[in-house]
């Protein structure tokens, strides 16, 4: 079946090549049938790659270790659900996922625009097939997911223990969907410039996909942060890792684009800016993919072993050069139709918001790529750590939150000072009230967090006022009860009120970030059973050690041979709060040089954190058991010299018992962080708001409105 998979790749490459040619010939010659054939090539590409994905999934689920990717990333002891997700844990499989998702989203985009934007869509089709062909070519010539080895090994290496986590199953598909969706506005943007049609119809088509890209990318980023916090042993959710940054940058420019697109839609302004943003977003998405596959990064996210840097650099260079050429050569048609009516207007707030978002993106771009470029040029390792990023991003984030509260209370086109005073009264009062409350509560030692909380109160006041006034106005006209009036208000103004909900969600998220990072209590120390320590207002006592052996008893399906942990009792003011059981898994290394016993537990240990999460705070803990004590090392050494491979687990069982009976001092990492939960809640709220804003009005509503408008028009014409 591997041959079928590879045949799919070759067929996909041929389809891409044909589709590019047909689309370009069709649009240049005016022969619609060739443009249509080019569009159907995208559908065919999606179909062919679906077959390829199915072949690979069947291989993983069926434990076909003849496939190299299956042997390298899966095993018989890997649970089925994780085996299904292991497809995209390798370079080859993730390339296939990328190409497949791209073909699906491209097919959807072209299907939805099949009766509009003909010339633009034809160019966009060629560009999307170009992307598809690029990724398929990488698989055909560099990283074949259907490569086999004969004879097939009897067992696979297994999935990386760090990836055995539920959110890691969905994080890559969501993130890749975001990345691939970013290429669609890019393609339509290039297509619009090539066809010389950057107009209202283009805006209408592109907005939906830009929004979908923003939504998926945002959810993917949040899932990655959740995995980092819940699985990795450092207790953080964002480390300014290069790959994290690479996903955030297109999200930031995409956010800027969604805002400034509204200005172009209403006022015919910022066309150059918008086109540049959409092209930059697509380019940044490809650059993010480049980072993990180029071999220039040493990161949990990086696919080591293969280097696809050169092809990606070529692609990115073509994208940047093409974008610059088209924007410059089409600058006449991109002139603004109007000017800003007033600085005191929603347009100017959106402009300011754009400047901040792009500024944020630039800071992150610099901090991410400068060390890599510096190291490449000088050979000396350079690093830019979290303190550098925090120094520049935190003030910008504060301004962003403030602007998200100012924008809703200012009108489009122009606002008056009198109106401004009236509209800002409640939000400012909320901000001041928050300041007073925090001062009374003594929460003043972190000024930046204080400012964030006050800005958040300002935003809640501003948006709350919008919902209140809108509902009140609808009630005044319709006499509906409050719930119905609120529902009707949101239904008829999905974009606006969906956007407000996004603003609330992002603000809540920032509150969680500010609180959890500024008011965290941390402690790292060694404890023996019976000993306790104080972290913040919590008392944590090490009750006793725990040990489990073999995958058979591995309830969390971590795949570890041996898992050593601890039972911890958490109390506050003498009252029991939680019982935590952090552990560390020791995995088989496959290194015969470590001996029969040593090789069973000599792999990279992986921490499994334990936490008690609530709405107000998280108590988080990780453990680093010491198995290098003289007594434990002696057990391993004796086992290595006396036991054959088939009986080596006996020594591991002895080791586990010895650890329980005579536990050495154990290193613990404790964190008490307030309001962490609100980061995830804020993300959910933002995603929900995004869905509301993105959702089209029901077709029955459209038909009724169309019929009413037709009747009104005919009456008007009759009177005329």
């Amino acid at each position: 079946m591997a041959d079928l998979g590879f045949a799919c790749l070759v067929l996909a490459l041929v389809v891409c090549a044909y589709g590019i040619g047909a689309s370009l010939y069709g649009v240049r010659s005016g022969r619609v049938e060739f443009s249509e054939s080019g569009r159907r090539s995208v559908y065919a590409l999606a179909g062919v790659l679906t077959v390829g994905m199915v072949v690979l999934e069947v291989a993983f689920l069926g434990n076909d270790f003849a496939f190299n990717t299956v042997a390298d990333t899966s095993s018989r002891t890997t649970p089925a659900l994780y085996r299904a997700a292991a497809v995209w844990s390798s370079q080859e499989g993730s390339l296939l996922l990328w190409a497949w998702l791209m073909s699906l989203w491209s097919s959807l985009a072209l299907f939805l625009t099949r009766k509009r934007l003909r010339d633009v869509a034809a160019y966009a089709t060629a560009i999307m097939l170009g992307f598809g062909g690029f990724f398929v070519a990488l698989m055909v010539f560099y990283a074949n997911p259907f490569q086999t080895t004969k004879p097939a090994p009897p067992e696979g290496v297994g999935l990386d223990p760090l990836l055995r986590f539920p959110t890691m199953m969905i994080h890559p598909p969501m993130l890749y969907s975001g990345y691939t969706l970013c290429t669609i506005p890019f393609a339509f943007g290039m297509g619009a410039l090539l066809a010389r049609r950057v107009d209202a119809d283009w805006i209408k088509a592109i907005r939906r996909f830009a929004f979908a890209a923003w939504l998926f990318l945002g959810v993917g980023i949040l899932l990655g942060a959740l995995w980092s916090y819940s699985e990795l042993g450092w207790g953080g959710y964002w480390g300014w890792d290069a790959v994290e940054n690479a996903s955030l940058m297109p999200w930031l420019t995409g956010t800027a684009f969604l805002h400034s697109l509204m200005i172009q839609e209403k006022r015919g302004m910022l066309k150059v800016w918008n086109v540049s943003l959409v092209l930059a977003t697509g380019t940044l998405a490809i650059m993010g993919t480049f980072l993990v596959r180029s071999g220039i990064l040493d990161s949990i996210h990086a696919f080591g072993g293969h280097t696809l840097g050169v092809p990606f650099v070529c692609l990115i260079a073509v994208m940047i050069a093409g974008s610059i050429y088209l924007v410059v050569s089409r600058r006449e048609m991109l002139r603004s139709e109007h000017r800003l009516d007033s600085l005191l207007s929603r347009e100017s707030i959106f402009l300011a918001n754009n400047v901040v978002l792009v500024g944020l993106c630039f800071v992150i771009l610099w901090g991410t790529y400068f060390p890599l470029i510096s190291e490449a040029l000088t050979g000396q390792e350079a690093s830019v750590g979290p303190p550098w990023f925090d120094r520049y991003t935190v003030p910008l984030a504060l301004i962003l939150v403030l602007l998200s509260g100012i924008g809703p209370v200012i009108a489009w086109r122009r606002a008056t000072l009198a109106n401004g005073r009236r509209n800002f009264l409640v939000p400012v009062a909320c901000g001041v009230l928050m300041l007073v409350v925090l001062e009374i509560a003594g929460v003043t030692q972190k000024p930046l967090a204080l400012v964030m909380f006050c800005c958040a109160a300002f935003v809640f006041g501003s948006i709350g006022q919008e919902f209140f006034r809108g509902t009140r106005a609808r009630r005044a006209m319709a006499g509906e009860p409050v719930p119905l009036a609120l529902l009707g208000l949101v239904r008829r103004n999905r974009r606006r009120y969906g956007g407000y909900i996004v603003h609330i969600g992002i603000t809540v998220l920032f509150v969680g970030v500010a609180a959890s990072s500024s008011f965290q209590h941390a402690s790292q120390l060694g404890l023996r059973p019976g000993q306790s320590t104080r972290v913040g207002s919590y008392e944590i006592r090490y009750v006793r050690p725990t040990a489990t052996i073999t995958p058979k008893y591995d309830e969390a399906h971590t795949g570890s041979t041996l898992s050593l942990g601890a039972i911890l009792d958490v109390t506050k003011n003498g009252r029991h709060v939680a019982t935590l059981n952090p552990s560390e898994g020791f995995y088989a290394s496959g290194e015969a040089s470590q001996g029969t016993v040593g090789s069973l537990i000599g792999g990279q240990p992986v921490s499994h954190v334990a936490m008690d999460a609530s709405l107000t705070r998280n108590v988080w803990t990780a453990i680093e058991p010491d198995i290098e004590t003289p007594s434990l090392k002696r057990i391993v050494s004796v086992g290595n010299s006396t036991l054959p491979a088939g009986e080596a687990l006996v020594a591991v069982a002895y080791l586990a018992r010895a650890y329980i009976q005579h536990p050495p001092p154990t290193q613990f990492n404790f964190l008490v962080s307030p309001l962490v939960f609100w980061i995830w809640i804020g993300g959910l709220i933002a995603a929900g708001g995004g869905l509301i804003a993105l959702w089209p009005a029901p077709s029955t509503v459209r038909r009724r409105v169309r019929a009413r408008s037709r009747a009104r028009t005919l009456r008007g014409l009759a009177r005329a």
Partner: protein
């Protein structure tokens, strides 16, 4: 197994050729309906192409005008919502609303001058005020 793989590959290839080549086959087929080549293309194309092909209009321009009209209706609604939620004074609202309605009328005139049988038909809930009220002769949404 090799035979099965080869067979599946051939089937896949055949399906791809059928799907991708369908428009080319349709275009190359002799027209037996008596409607002419342009209406054959219209099977795949938007109704506007079949309509406008006989009137010499650029269907792309038509789509753009319709999109611009929807955007203008949305802008009128947004302005009304700004007024009703206290962000605009009555004077400013009336001035802006007047400008927007004049711009909308210009778009409607452009659309009607291209002789579309559907007339000035907005889509996706654009016409009508943002709160769903205020039009005496209209049913509420």
């Amino acid at each position: 197994m090799a035979f099965l793989v080869a067979l599946l590959t051939l089937v896949l290839l055949a399906v791809v050729v059928l799907v991708v080549g369908a428009p080319l086959r349709r275009a190359g087929r002799p027209d037996t309906s008596g409607r002419g080549a342009s209406s054959t293309r219209a099977l795949d194309d938007a109704p506007s192409r079949a309509t406008s092909a006989g009137h010499g209009e650029d269907p792309g321009q038509m789509e753009d005008l319709e999109a611009a009209r929807e955007a203008k209706y949305r802008e009128i609604r947004d302005t009304e919502l700004d007024y009703r939620t206290g962000k605009l004074s009555r004077q400013d609202y009336e001035a802006i609303d007047s400008d927007l309605r004049a711009e909308a009328l210009a778009l409607l005139n452009q659309l009607e001058s291209s002789d579309r049988p559907s007339g000035a038909t907005p889509s996706s809930g654009a016409e009508g005020d943002s709160l769903g009220m205020g039009r005496k002769n209209d049913a509420d949404v």
